[in-house]
Assembly symmetry: C2
Homo-oligomer: 581 residues x 2
Amino acid sequence: MNNGVAMDPLADLRTFLKVHGLSGFILPRENRFRSAHLSPWEERLAWLTGFTGSAGLAIVLADRAALFVDGRYTLAASRQIASTFEITEEKPEQWLARALPISTPASVGFDPWQFTPTRLKCFQRASPHLAFKQIAENPVDVLWCNRPVPESPAVFPIDLHCTGCSTQQKHRQILQHVQQLGAQALFLADPASVAWVLNVRTEAPYFPIPSAYALLQETELTVFSNITYWPDVPHCVHHPLSGMQKVLDTAVADTLLLDLDETSCAVYTFLRNAKKQLITAPNPCKALKAIKNVVELEGFRDCHQRDAVALIEFLAWLEQTGPCGTIDEHSAAERLLEERARDPSFRGPSFETISASGPNAAFVHYRVPSTGARFLQSGEGYLLDSGGHYENGTTDCTRTIGLGPVADTHFKRIYTAVLKGLIAATTTIFPRGTPGAAIDSIARQPLWQMGYDYDHGTGHGVGHYLSVHEDPPTLSKLSRTPLELGMVLSIEPGCYKPDVFGIRLENVVEVVPASENPGFLTFSPLTLVPFEPALIEQDCLTREEAKWLHWYHSNIWKTLYSRLSKKGQEWLNTRKTSCRF
Amino acid sequence: MNNGVAMDPLADLRTFLKVHGLSGFILPRENRFRSAHLSPWEERLAWLTGFTGSAGLAIVLADRAALFVDGRYTLAASRQIASTFEITEEKPEQWLARALPISTPASVGFDPWQFTPTRLKCFQRASPHLAFKQIAENPVDVLWCNRPVPESPAVFPIDLHCTGCSTQQKHRQILQHVQQLGAQALFLADPASVAWVLNVRTEAPYFPIPSAYALLQETELTVFSNITYWPDVPHCVHHPLSGMQKVLDTAVADTLLLDLDETSCAVYTFLRNAKKQLITAPNPCKALKAIKNVVELEGFRDCHQRDAVALIEFLAWLEQTGPCGTIDEHSAAERLLEERARDPSFRGPSFETISASGPNAAFVHYRVPSTGARFLQSGEGYLLDSGGHYENGTTDCTRTIGLGPVADTHFKRIYTAVLKGLIAATTTIFPRGTPGAAIDSIARQPLWQMGYDYDHGTGHGVGHYLSVHEDPPTLSKLSRTPLELGMVLSIEPGCYKPDVFGIRLENVVEVVPASENPGFLTFSPLTLVPFEPALIEQDCLTREEAKWLHWYHSNIWKTLYSRLSKKGQEWLNTRKTSCRF
């Protein structure tokens, strides 16, 4: 026990390496199920480095240590973690190859539950001279004192009137794809796909997805998890993880399909031990669940209306209270949660709310500190990126507002450029199957013309009461995802000036037919939250952009006015009148 | 001899397959050097199928045969070749996997000089049940009667005042890259890279590049080719292909770098036989020669001016003569060649001129038939896509004009949309390293908004008196090429209505800094040929577009007016005045 003694995780890990004859250890931010959201007891990377972002990887050597983060987190990481770690956007495998060059034969450890064979291969290719060793027990699990206790949130089924498609139907549909690829069964290592097939969710915050694997055979659907209570799902058998090897060994199917990009080395060993023929291909569930069915789309539309009511009530309250200097980022986020929680179909936030005032908004994925949050101040910007899970869908909305009058014309020019990018991407008409990269550059155009850019994607797919970040589709510089009718995704351009301000605007949209042009698609906004007329430089808008804004605000007014409180109605009225461009 | 007897290449090939116990043969349009332009004696695919496009592949089985072409050629192929071939845009490996399913174990032949290991792997992966057999002598070479005789065009060195960089400098620069990748030498299987390093060219039409391989070692540069006369290049030794194995076997270097995507299976066998350690990586010359040096850029600017003079003189002549009904597509192309040939630094056309009138312009890569070419008619459109090689650069320009007054407003609306796309792509400002796909979608926007698209890329890199199509960079829907300062490429949106018309506008541009925004880039047009004021729907242009057009035409006037004939000056004056938007 380390009670009362200063802890040094990095020193402890180095001692572990020395004792075990290892030159290094690679620790990605991953749990056994490759979930986007980790429980506190799974935050091994945060324990080691102090870094709490949602994506990262550390490499610890005897005399050097590095933390690898993407563009969203470089600023946050540099402020959050000790100088003992180099912070870099370099590829970890390239850094390692340089750090342990060819002259030093060495062993580098990793946890096979945290690595896919694909990722391991990247490291092996970059450093063929190194031996990469699977470590049976993750050293962090050995060293971490006062570790949080694992939770096991309850699993429950969701209704056909929300999902629109039964487990049996999905099972059949998936097996057709699997058989076309020459396999008899599918091993699902992706918990979101398992939750989607089985129409089950958990009460876990943000990521309402049970930690489970599944085996889909012609006659049977088997789930593997350590969750104590598993609800009845027709034709589905539940086994603890400890029983997985036996079930795989005795499975009827001879040929198994699996996706190597989402199967950990540990699970891959189970599958190889079972002596089946393994066919590797992308998990077919991902493409299937990306195209939302009519019931899911109807649910998305409905829950976005409910969510917009909560956001508008919050923004109306904030307009009066925010500039007074009595509200901090934390209490603002709490207030928003209260507004959302009034709706009986609300199931919880879809991710940790980014409630960032003034310069804090420049951190793309800012987290409100648990104590000492910044107070909102008049004359500053405030960025709010939040969303909710509802029984019939998921929302994700970002608005940047001015607290009281904002004098900074530069801020307004950037706000307007970000808005123009959002409008350009939303109103684009494009042929079916156009890759996401095409939309990405259209959203960036107005900022590029001013010499600005943002170091994150323009958008991501949104799961249906699953993960708020669902891939495919994506909208990014290199995205090849073909866009198809029925996809739901975010469009969220932004612009960040470190230490000064951050601006991001985000709508969730669905892919719909372009009414006049057969074979062409466009986007229809699901999000129904007004923009800030006071921050728009009207002279910078084209006639078409102004027309679209007017239509967008009128549509919000028509859809939501009668469902708002008096205060909300008054607030919306001011948006409607000042947006009559 | 088949004199006087009707020949049936397909039947002959099938007999060959039967005799040799093969179930099929795969014939890509490739020569031994993977050149873009083939000599008549290398046109094996045309001999077999009748298809004369610049990219394609045939698969012949006992009872089925298919020709695989891309979007540019589907229309042309369907008119050009017999119904004995299925014409499809499907991937050949997928078609083959379906055509010879798992129940029929079979051998399929290919010519190892026509296949890279990478391409072979695609077929093997799609059909693991098939045996792919290297056929030592290509069956077409055995069967083809009355085959054209191989040429051996002379090779000559080009001067430092055109290339800006000596062979020794390039050699040193390349070896640095090679050594960073852990190799001691580079095997170059790409003739364009060989020509670039050695600063040599040939008099071959269109593709002025000798058919040669090269080995670059620290102390020596060795070229392999069957070309009889090879000029003196300092530090460079020339060997016939028959001597290649011996040179490789006795090479000093132990570790060779090679690019598997451009090395044929036949050459790969040579390299493996040499028992060196092989490191595979992209050919470093491609990225190096994509960034043009200052001398090359100066040459590009100069030759585009010379080329524009020829094109303007031609267009002035055509404006008067074209609508009379006395000029056919062939004689128009001949006249253009005469105009270009007046310039002493002109070295020949950079590709076969596309001179397409009326509905013929709907064939994206139309070829004027050698006899019976269509006559140009008043009231119709005329598409001219042509270019020249000059001693200091290469041009590529497409203009679509109206012959006499064009009444069709739809034609004008599309012309205007294509022009808007060209302007949007050209004037875009983007961060360094932006992938080509970003520019592609910007060029397509105006057409997408009208429900149109084009089934070809938006642009390609242009070689410096090398291949007019040089990769990287590319501008296409899936292009990941990062755009960098000093690249030269085409921007060529288009729109095609089968049987009615085709419109394409193409400028060559260079990548330059965006003057006011550090770290950002934009394009500067090298092509100096006016657009058609009579075809522009002025109401559809934004103020910025009109301003750009005015600047573009004024710049042409300032640069070229004094170099034109009286007729050319008069023609340019009408463009200048009618483009004062």
